[in-house]
């Protein structure tokens, strides 16, 4: 139910903030999405969309940090493997 799917904004329409919508591509499937709660969103941004409404603009820098963290986790596991072996 709380599923929200990331999609890329192709274009934006509507001046009034509450009526502002975007054409958003979800891996090629294009839907019209309300951008009423993401006034900062511009074409090219990725937004996370739930029941036809964008909840937030995805932060690409934060998205990449996950993979740095993952690398550190891998190194941690390997380091501990090395120190555990005789």
């Amino acid at each position: 139910m709380c599923l929200a799917v990331p999609g890329k904004i192709l274009s934006v329409a509507g001046d009034d903030s509450i009526e502002r919508t975007g054409r958003v591509s979800f891996g090629g499937i294009i839907k019209e999405v309300s951008l009423a709660f993401t006034p900062e969103a511009v074409p090219g941004n990725y937004v996370i969309v739930h029941v036809g409404v964008a909840l937030n603009v995805l932060d690409e820098a934060e998205a990449n940090k996950v993979f740095d963290y993952l690398r550190q986790m891998g190194e941690l596991a390997e380091l501990e493997d090395a120190s555990a072996s005789p």
Binding site: M1, C2, L3, A4, V5, P6, K8, S17, I18, F26, G27, S34, A36, F37, T38, P39, Y46, I48, H50, V51, G52, V53, L55, N56, L58, D59, E60, E62, A63, K65, V66, F67, Y69, L70, M73, G74, L76, A77, E80
Partner: protein, 360 residues
């Protein structure tokens, strides 16, 4: 798809699982609150990647599951009226009421329509001025901005034939209800990422402090979930109980302020009855006085219905993390997705339906 595929990478997931195994020295029980996370955990077999000492229990974060029986009965009553177009998210249609479900209403000629968004229901109302259009507004905080916007748009455009049957519930009071139960066995929580995308996570600091539990805001893809579990166990092993954000690409501390403003324009906090759990104070949203004209319960005179729950179904215990689906004698025998006894078997996000689909 960007922001999905890279979080489903098998090697990355296995690396996370190995790191979790490395830091786990004792048994821990962690609850993922959201049904979407439950579904992902069972579908991708995330629980099977974890060390035996880590137990995941599945929380009450499935709005379809916790919508009380009497609201389903109210929906059936309203949808059966010939002047009504009843709009709902698809997964509410098969939830059994005390006599029948919305799908049965549809199959006997009721105008029940599945919509993707509550805003579609407002459009249907504008196009059908001679019919009453009712939207079944279920959901957690994630869905509240969209449902609130539907009421806001209807009011702004003077669409009088639109109303909402509201069954809105909130995550933090449910977490508190679980933690304050004498049967509680949950030691750490994965908070629902999209609820926090809307509301932020400041509400969880007081809970973590009061009950000494770590709470980690967590996303929905396998690597997101494993990272949430890793952070949670890291804290448990160190005796910490902090609120952390493992889903920072979508969640900020204060959440989405324009969305919260819209929620508070239309809704206020009220007590709500949860299916299988009972009434929890301050645990849901109802329409404010300003929007009371859009309340379907008063418009159709169904406000004072009450219905007792069936005693055969243990979904209440499952929703609180006390039991697992396999503990129920009815699971997979008399209770199946085709003939569900309770809501955790109906919704694809219900723990029983997820186990039935992926684990038999």
């Amino acid at each position: 798809m960007k922001f999905i595929d890279e979080y489903r990478d098998r090697e990355g997931a296995e690396r996370c699982a190995r790191a979790i195994a490395k830091i786990t020295t004792r048994p821990w029980t962690i609850m993922e609150v959201c049904g979407g996370q439950t579904h992902a955990i069972v579908k991708f077999g995330i629980d099977e990647l974890l060390p035996k000492d880590v137990t995941l229990v599945h929380g009450p974060g499935c709005p379809v599951c916790v919508t009380p029986l009497e609201l389903i009965d109210k929906a059936v009553e309203i949808a059966s009226r010939p002047d009504v177009i009843f709009c709902s998210f698809g997964d509410m249609l098969r939830v059994p009421g005390s006599k029948r479900d919305l799908l049965a209403v549809k199959s006997t000629g009721g105008d029940v329509r599945i919509v993707y968004s509550p805003l579609d229901a407002v459009k249907i109302a504008a196009e059908n001025p001679n019919r009453q259009v009712v939207f079944f507004a279920v959901g957690f905080e994630t869905t509240a901005p969209a449902n609130a916007m539907a009421a806001f748009q209807a009011r702004q455009k003077g669409i009088k034939n639109f109303s909402l049957l509201v069954s809105h519930v909130l995550v933090p009071p449910a977490i508190e209800a679980i933690l304050s139960s004498p049967h509680n066995r949950v030691q750490g929580f994965l908070a629902a990422g999209h609820v926090c995308a809307v509301m932020g996570y400041t509400e969880y600091f007081a809970i973590a402090e009061k009950y000494h539990v770590p709470i980690v805001v967590t996303g929905f893809e396998p690597i997101d979930i494993l990272q949430g579990i890793f952070s949670c166990i890291q804290q448990l092993e160190k005796g910490l109980f902090q609120v952390e954000n493992s889903y920072a690409r979508a969640v900020q501390l204060d959440g989405n302020e324009p969305a919260q403003k819209m929620i508070h324009e239309v809704f206020h906090v009220i007590p709500r009855k949860w299916r299988g759990i009972g009434e929890i104070p301050y645990s849901g949203f109802g329409l404010t006085e300003k929007y009371s004209e859009f309340d379907a319960e008063t418009r159709f005179g169904v406000a004072d219905y009450t219905t007792e729950e069936s005693t055969d179904c243990i979904s209440g215990l499952i929703l609180q993390g006390i039991k697992k689906p396999a503990d129920c004698p009815a699971f997979g025998t008399v209770c199946t997705p085709e003939h569900p006894l309770g809501a955790t078997m109906v919704s694809t996000e219900g723990a029983c339906a997820a186990y039935y689909r992926y684990r038999r």
